[in-house]
């Protein structure tokens, strides 16, 4: 097995994220599957940003602590990441900032002054040096820069990269693999593409980390994708605009994080009562309140499951990587319209802003759904009480129909009611719809399993912790079970997946074991908790050590 880990670090504003993605691009072009973890504080200039890029000859989706190459644009990078370095690590540093280090010093101040290049090109010197150290072609390096750098800055970046390249020597050789060069996408980008794949017309969002990546990506590519992207005054307006779009027949999705989702909850409940489809990309970060804006957590599971007053069906899915984010965003949007329910795609910072090799063919939903439309026979009733609970849709402007949608309890025509039998009938219609949605999901892979079925040790995990668990499981001879759909909970699929589970642990990025609580609610044993709640995702080796303590 071939794999490489690299870290690039520096101050915010030095383009660490872009540089990380360029490194990922280098390995990608050599046929490697890559994963990038990006770590940054909530500030615009200064501080310490770093990206860990891992490349392997197989699919991966997590980082390791140790790195093979450390690229330090400042002293802090070296000081902060001492634990990641050993005798075999190649350190490349900016010798105008850091002195007397072992490794390769690049006089970046001198290089950019001599090349008359802007300070941001320091990254390209690092990239050049990395290419030389790792035995990667100069042509490959230039190709990556051409893709990453705007035309007018390309020349200076190429010159600076060449200086970096010639300032160091070859240390090891990254062998090209016989595999396609896959694009590297973040979870946010994959979710955005999935929404469009599912038929999105308009994306509406107010900026909030870590969900803003969807907004920025879709806004930047709106014309290419043929969609509208709207940024209104707040999250309340966001969800209400989406519901207005849905009422008039256009498929809308919204994106936010915990605090913004708090503001959306009355709109969510309105969607539940008025049976208006809406898809919500909910990207978690540590709370309570403002919490830790640019770090990660899986602490809003029960919030997503229970938000909004009253009882109404909803779809909640938690994709584990960009492939699942794309497929399930498409599926969620289509199912939301087919069953006229709100759908929540529960992500977190690790998945949303982490990047990964992406294959669209492996990222599409298993089936298509069209909304149920009015056939024009007889008087139109927006809330016709059908057997499966789903009423045919008509939209304002259609000839011969009046469409009355309502947040109050309502009769079939959409008129407000307070009659006991009408209220009961409405609630039972919603329950029938929940049942229909659940039955439909029986045809989906709602629970996924990885590893040997007879392992007798099972790791339960959900969302972004999928890949770190898959890798760590191999080290302790365990299998992994991942619920992708969390509401309506796939009870049967779960029972089947957990048959003969043996010793069980449940790995989560939260302090109270929220998935474990959900499993207990449905009568399942979640095993022993392995929790991490410091805003950082598990590294493979870190989780392996925790698993070894528990599995004895």
């Amino acid at each position: 097995m071939q794999e490489y880990s690299l870290l690039i670090g520096g101050k915010a504003g030095e383009g660490i994220n872009t540089a990380g993605l360029s490194i990922a691009g280098l390995f990608s072009r050599l046929g490697y599957r890559v994963y990038m973890y990006f770590d940054y504080p909530s500030l615009i200039r200064g501080g310490h940003n770093f990206a860990i890029i891992r490349a392997a000859d197989r699919p991966i989706g997590a980082h390791r602590t140790r790195v093979d190459v450390l690229l330090a644009l400042d002293r802090k990078t070296i000081e902060t990441h001492k634990e990641r370095i050993d005798g075999k690590t190649t350190v490349i540093y900016d010798s105008s900032q850091v002195r007397e280090e072992t490794g390769y010093g690049l006089p970046l101040d001198d290089i950019i002054a001599e090349e008359k290049a802007p300070p941001i090109t320091r990254n390209s010197a690092m990239l050049g040096a990395l290419a030389r150290v790792a035995g990667i072609d100069r042509e490959m390096l230039e190709d990556v820069l051409r893709a990453a750098v705007p035309e007018k800055h390309l020349d200076s970046n190429l010159r600076v990269a060449a200086r970096g390249y010639s300032a160091v020597e070859n240390v090891f050789s990254v062998k090209p693999l016989d595999a396609p060069a896959l694009p590297v996408l973040t979870g946010n980008e994959a979710a955005g593409l999935g929404l469009v794949y599912g038929g999105l017309d308009t994306y509406v969002a107010y900026p909030m980390t870590p969900s803003s990546g969807v907004l920025h990506f879709l806004a930047g590519r709106a014309e290419d994708l043929g969609i509208r992207v709207i940024h209104p005054e707040n999250e309340i307006s966001v969800i209400l605009m989406a519901l207005g779009l849905a009422y008039a027949g256009k498929r809308a999705a919204v994106g936010t994080s915990g605090g913004g989702f708090c503001l959306m909850t009355e709109g969510l409940s309105f969607a539940g009562m008025s049976e208006m489809p809406v898809t919500i990309v909910l990207s978690q970060r540590p709370g309570p309140s403002t919490g830790v804006p640019t770090y990660t957590a899986q602490s809003d599971l029960h919030f997503a499951l229970n938000a909004g007053q009253g009882e109404f069906p909803r779809l909640v899915v938690a994709p584990g990587d960009p492939h699942e984010a794309c497929a399930w965003s498409a599926a969620a949007l289509m199912l939301s319209w087919r069953y006229q329910v709100p759908a929540i795609i529960l992500m977190d910072k690790t998945l949303a802003e982490g990047a990964c090799s992406f294959d669209l063919d492996a990222s599409t939903p298993p089936r298509d759904h069209e909304p149920l439309l009015e056939d024009g026979e007889g008087e139109y009733r927006r809330y016709r009480r059908t057997e499966d609970g789903v009423s045919p849709l008509a939209f304002p402007g259609m000839e011969g129909v009046t469409v009355k949608a309502n947040s109050y309890a309502h009769d079939e025509r959409g008129f407000t009611t307070e009659k006991a039998e009408e209220i009961r009938a409405l609630q039972e219609k919603l329950l029938r719809k929940a049942g229909s949605l659940k039955a439909e999901l029986g045809g989906y892979q709602t629970v996924k399993t990885y590893g040997a079925p007879d392992a007798e040790k099972t790791i339960i995990c959900w969302g972004s912790q999928k890949w770190v668990c898959i890798e760590a499981a191999a080290g302790v001879d365990a299998r992994v079970v991942q619920p992708v759909v969390l509401a309506p909970f796939p009870v049967e699929a779960w029972s089947k997946a957990m048959a003969g589970a043996g010793e069980v642990v449940c790995v989560e990025n939260n302090a109270t074991g929220q998935a474990a609580r959900l499993l207990r609610e449905h009568g399942f044993d979640p095993g022993r908790p392995i929790l991490k709640y410091d805003g950082r995702p598990f590294a493979v080796d870190e989780l392996t050590a925790r698993l070894e303590e528990v599995f004895v």
Binding site: L225, M241, L245, Y380, G397, S407
Partner: protein, 290 residues
């Protein structure tokens, strides 16, 4: 429901539960007539009209008119209306809102809709009191108003919503009075036909909690041609400030301001495309990923 194109057919069979003497009856009937007349005069099918309501006595109008309606939640009809206009620019979108509903709970949305100049009409049923929650003060209640939440009288001054709207960038600003029904209908028609964001504050009698009939009858007057220049900000501002919803002054009704500006939704046109075309676009984007 199936639309009935006659004015009488625009009333639903739902039992009306407003208090006897409520100003909402005039608003209901004048809006019904305004829609029926515009439909007739302009050749716009009834199906192209959409009403939105917030929560409060005003919202019941959603149940009483046989027109497309989205009965939303408190203070939030305006963003939903904006969404409807983004989705379909053929629709005439009219938001009925209350003074508590939109000046308190949803003021942000009102200001932003004016700022954007989205082509919707906002009709404020401004009875200057919360009716459905039984008599608390609202943002337009006069200083000293004794409501159930302010038994010693409100210490705040009311806001002048017309002045707020002018500052926010509304392109059409008017005021009506529920006891001047013919005038009210004309104010509605003009607002609905205005291309852009139109705002009408309707001084509405609340028969139960704040009956200002005598006061309004004594102070309200209809503006005449030449009273102001509706195309000039300063002229509108001066007239709008004649009465501040608090002290004794003549109360002008009619149109204060009306100008043209580009529409918000025009900046977001998307050519219609089918699912397969969208998927083709996704595929091309991934294939050309840099």
């Amino acid at each position: 429901m199936t639309p009935d194109r006659s004015a009488a057919g625009l009333i639903t069979p739902v039992q009306n539960t407003w208090c006897p003497g409520c100003g909402n009856f005039s608003i209901q009937h004048m809006m019904r007539s305004a829609i029926a007349e515009i439909s007739e005069e302009e050749g716009i099918p009834i199906e192209k009209f959409v009403l939105l309501g917030g929560i409060g006595c005003h919202g019941k109008l959603m149940d009483y008119l046989n027109v497309n309606s989205l009965y939303t939640i408190h203070g939030r009809s305006i963003p939903a209306a904006t969404g409807i206009r983004l989705a379909n620019r053929d629709l005439r979108v009219i938001c009925h809102v209350g003074d508590g509903d939109i000046y308190a709970e949803g003021l942000d949305h009102l200001i932003f809709a004016a700022k954007r100049n989205t082509d919707i009409t906002v009709i404020v049923h401004d009875n200057r009191v919360y009716g459905l929650t039984t008599g608390q003060y609202t943002p337009t209640s006069p200083t000293g108003f004794r409501g159930r939440s302010t038994p010693r009288g409100v210490a705040e001054h009311p806001m002048n919503p017309l002045e707020v709207m002018l500052a926010a960038g509304a392109t059409h600003i008017a005021r009506g009075y529920t006891r001047k029904t013919r005038h009210l209908k004309d104010v509605f028609k003009e607002a609905i036909m205005h291309r852009g964001f139109s705002f009408v504050d309707v001084l509405q009698i609340c028969a139960t909690y704040s009956n200002l009939t005598d006061y309004y009858d004594a102070h309200v007057y209809e503006m005449q041609d030449g009273d102001l220049d509706t195309g000039r900000f300063e002229s509108a501002l001066q007239k709008i400030r004649e009465w501040d919803y608090d002290r004794d002054a003549p109360i002008a009704i009619g149109t204060f301001y009306s100008i043209e500006r580009p529409l918000y939704e025009e900046g977001f046109s998307v050519p219609p495309s089918g699912l397969e075309e969208r998927r083709g676009r996704v595929r091309r984007l991934v294939e050309g990923w840099r």
